[in-house]
């Protein structure tokens, strides 16, 4: 990773590499912007690299960039290319094969909410320690829900690949199937509980590389779609609207759910849409910059058994 970034900077192929460096807290890495070969030496990559750096691409219009992407991140970049938001020749994609990202919240549950003061990445997972405890945790125990059935750990698009290709996991929508099986009232009650937490900080929207509208519908005052106060009804309106805007675009990177400071289960809605796109139309987003968009195209034979009155 460091070598690749260093070389790109030294050879002036790029003048900025956006990657990850260690953060200031255990279990945390943070986006890092390396402009010199020396800075490139601070780059790291591991299962704690939870942000999707593709988001930052949209900000830099002049620099020639090197960008570190995981499998899912690469797919979101493909969607941006498809939507003509990024020029391909401006980005040198440093792909990293990914075996899954660790969900910090799951780690916290495993240690009963005690403060983790140190963490170390090992081959199989992580070791976390705090006052009076040390725990060895396997990555698979604390994987993000999106990573459990990830078929695209190896980036679908890259200029340099750092590391060996990884095996695709078996698609797994078990969480969504189980939820679908619940009665509607229970599903609504679950969302009511989740939506009540939301503080409308819009971290989910702002970390999402595919949320790039100049004016988000929540900020519109003409019409004012929803209240600016974080009532459950309004929060739900926001999250349903946002999820729908990502239908056929969301690549299940899970960055929004990890960014949420209050832990709203955002992936329930996103993953439902991903599953439906697959089930109803055989569509998977972010695999090919040439693929048509899901919701602005159609097939004359699309299912329509739900039409009222036949």
């Amino acid at each position: 990773m460091r070598q690749a970034a260093r070389r790109l900077l030294e050879e002036n192929t790029v003048n900025l590499v956006i990657g990850y460096a260690w953060g200031t807290l255990p279990l945390r890495t943070a986006p890092f912007f390396a402009r010199t070969p020396a800075e490139a030496d601070r780059l790291v990559y591991n299962s704690l690299c939870e942000n999707n750096l593709v988001k930052y691409l949209l900000r830099y219009s002049k620099e020639k960039l090197g960008l570190v992407v995981k499998g899912c991140d690469a797919r979101s970049l493909v969607v941006l290319l498809r939507e003509n938001q990024v020029q391909r020749d401006r980005v040198h994609i440093i792909g990293v094969p990914c075996t899954g990202v660790i969900d910090r919240r799951k780690v916290m549950e495993l240690v009963d909410g005690q403060e983790v003061t140190g963490a170390e990445v090992t081959v199989e997972g992580i070791v976390v320690r705090g006052e009076g405890f040390e725990k060895d945790i396997k990555t698979d125990e604390v994987l993000c829900v999106s990573c459990r059935g990830c078929k695209y750990g190896t980036p679908v698009l890259y200029d340099t690949l750092v590391g060996e290709e990884v095996r695709a996991r078996e698609e797994n929508f078990g969480d969504i199937r189980a939820f679908e099986a619940l009665p509607p009232s229970e599903r609504e009650a679950y969302f009511a509980q989740e939506m009540a937490k939301c503080i409308r900080c819009y971290a989910c929207r702002n970390v999402c590389p595919l949320c790039y509208c100049t004016e988000c519908f929540v900020d519109s005052s003409r019409p004012q779609w929803l209240s600016r106060r974080p009532a459950t009804a309004d929060n739900f309106f926001f999250h349903l609207g946002r999820a729908y805007h990502l239908a056929g675009r969301c690549v299940d990177c899970g960055a929004c759910a990890r960014a949420c400071p209050v832990g709203v289960d955002l992936m329930k809605l996103n993953r439902k849409l991903i599953k439906d796109a697959k089930d109803l139309f055989g569509y998977e987003a972010g695999l090919d910059p040439g693929q048509p968009s899901l919701l602005s195209t159609f097939d004359p034979n699309d299912p329509e058994r739900f039409i009222l009155g036949g």
């Binding site: 969302f191 519908f217 999820a243 159609f298």
Partner: protein
């Protein structure tokens, strides 16, 4: 009182077919229940899911989206795009606990005044069975 009120249905009708069908139903003196409030849209392809959520939020108990039959769209394919979007959105709403039947899509041509009247009747009946929408999207009035 609120519990027994008559259902409120918001109908988004396309300018070229379904809205004309509603006119025809009226001119033909067909009888159908008065619960559907018609909003004319240029095409079902213009439908934004936010319209549907806003209707439910502001007091609708059911929503109808009606457009030209497949193949008859004034804009060639607006209704076919709408069909795809709608199937995704409808599934999402139901997943989130909004009962099946609150959101409906249908095709009614300009010549089908009869069909408009009968579907309105059918939809009103369905909305009555479902009862008022009191789900999470409904805006809670008050301070």
């Amino acid at each position: 009182m609120a519990e027994d009120r008559e259902p409120r249905i918001v109908g988004f009708l396309c300018n070229w077919c379904s809205y004309a069908a509603a006119d025809l139903a009226g001119m033909s003196r067909f009888h159908y229940p008065p619960h559907l409030c018609a909003i004319r849209v240029p095409c079902t392809g213009r439908m934004n899911p936010l319209f549907v959520m806003s209707a439910l939020r502001r007091g609708a108990d059911a929503v109808l989206i009606a457009g030209c039959h497949p193949g008859d769209c004034h804009y060639v394919s607006g209704n076919l795009t709408a069909r795809r979007r709608f199937s995704v959105f409808r599934s999402l709403l139901e997943f989130a606990g909004v009962e099946e039947g609150r959101l409906n899509l249908t095709w009614i041509s300009a010549a089908e005044g009869k069909r408009f009247a009968s579907l309105s009747t059918q939809l009103t009946q369905r909305a009555k069975e479902l009862g008022p929408y009191k789900g999470m999207l409904r805006k809670r009035i008050g301070v």
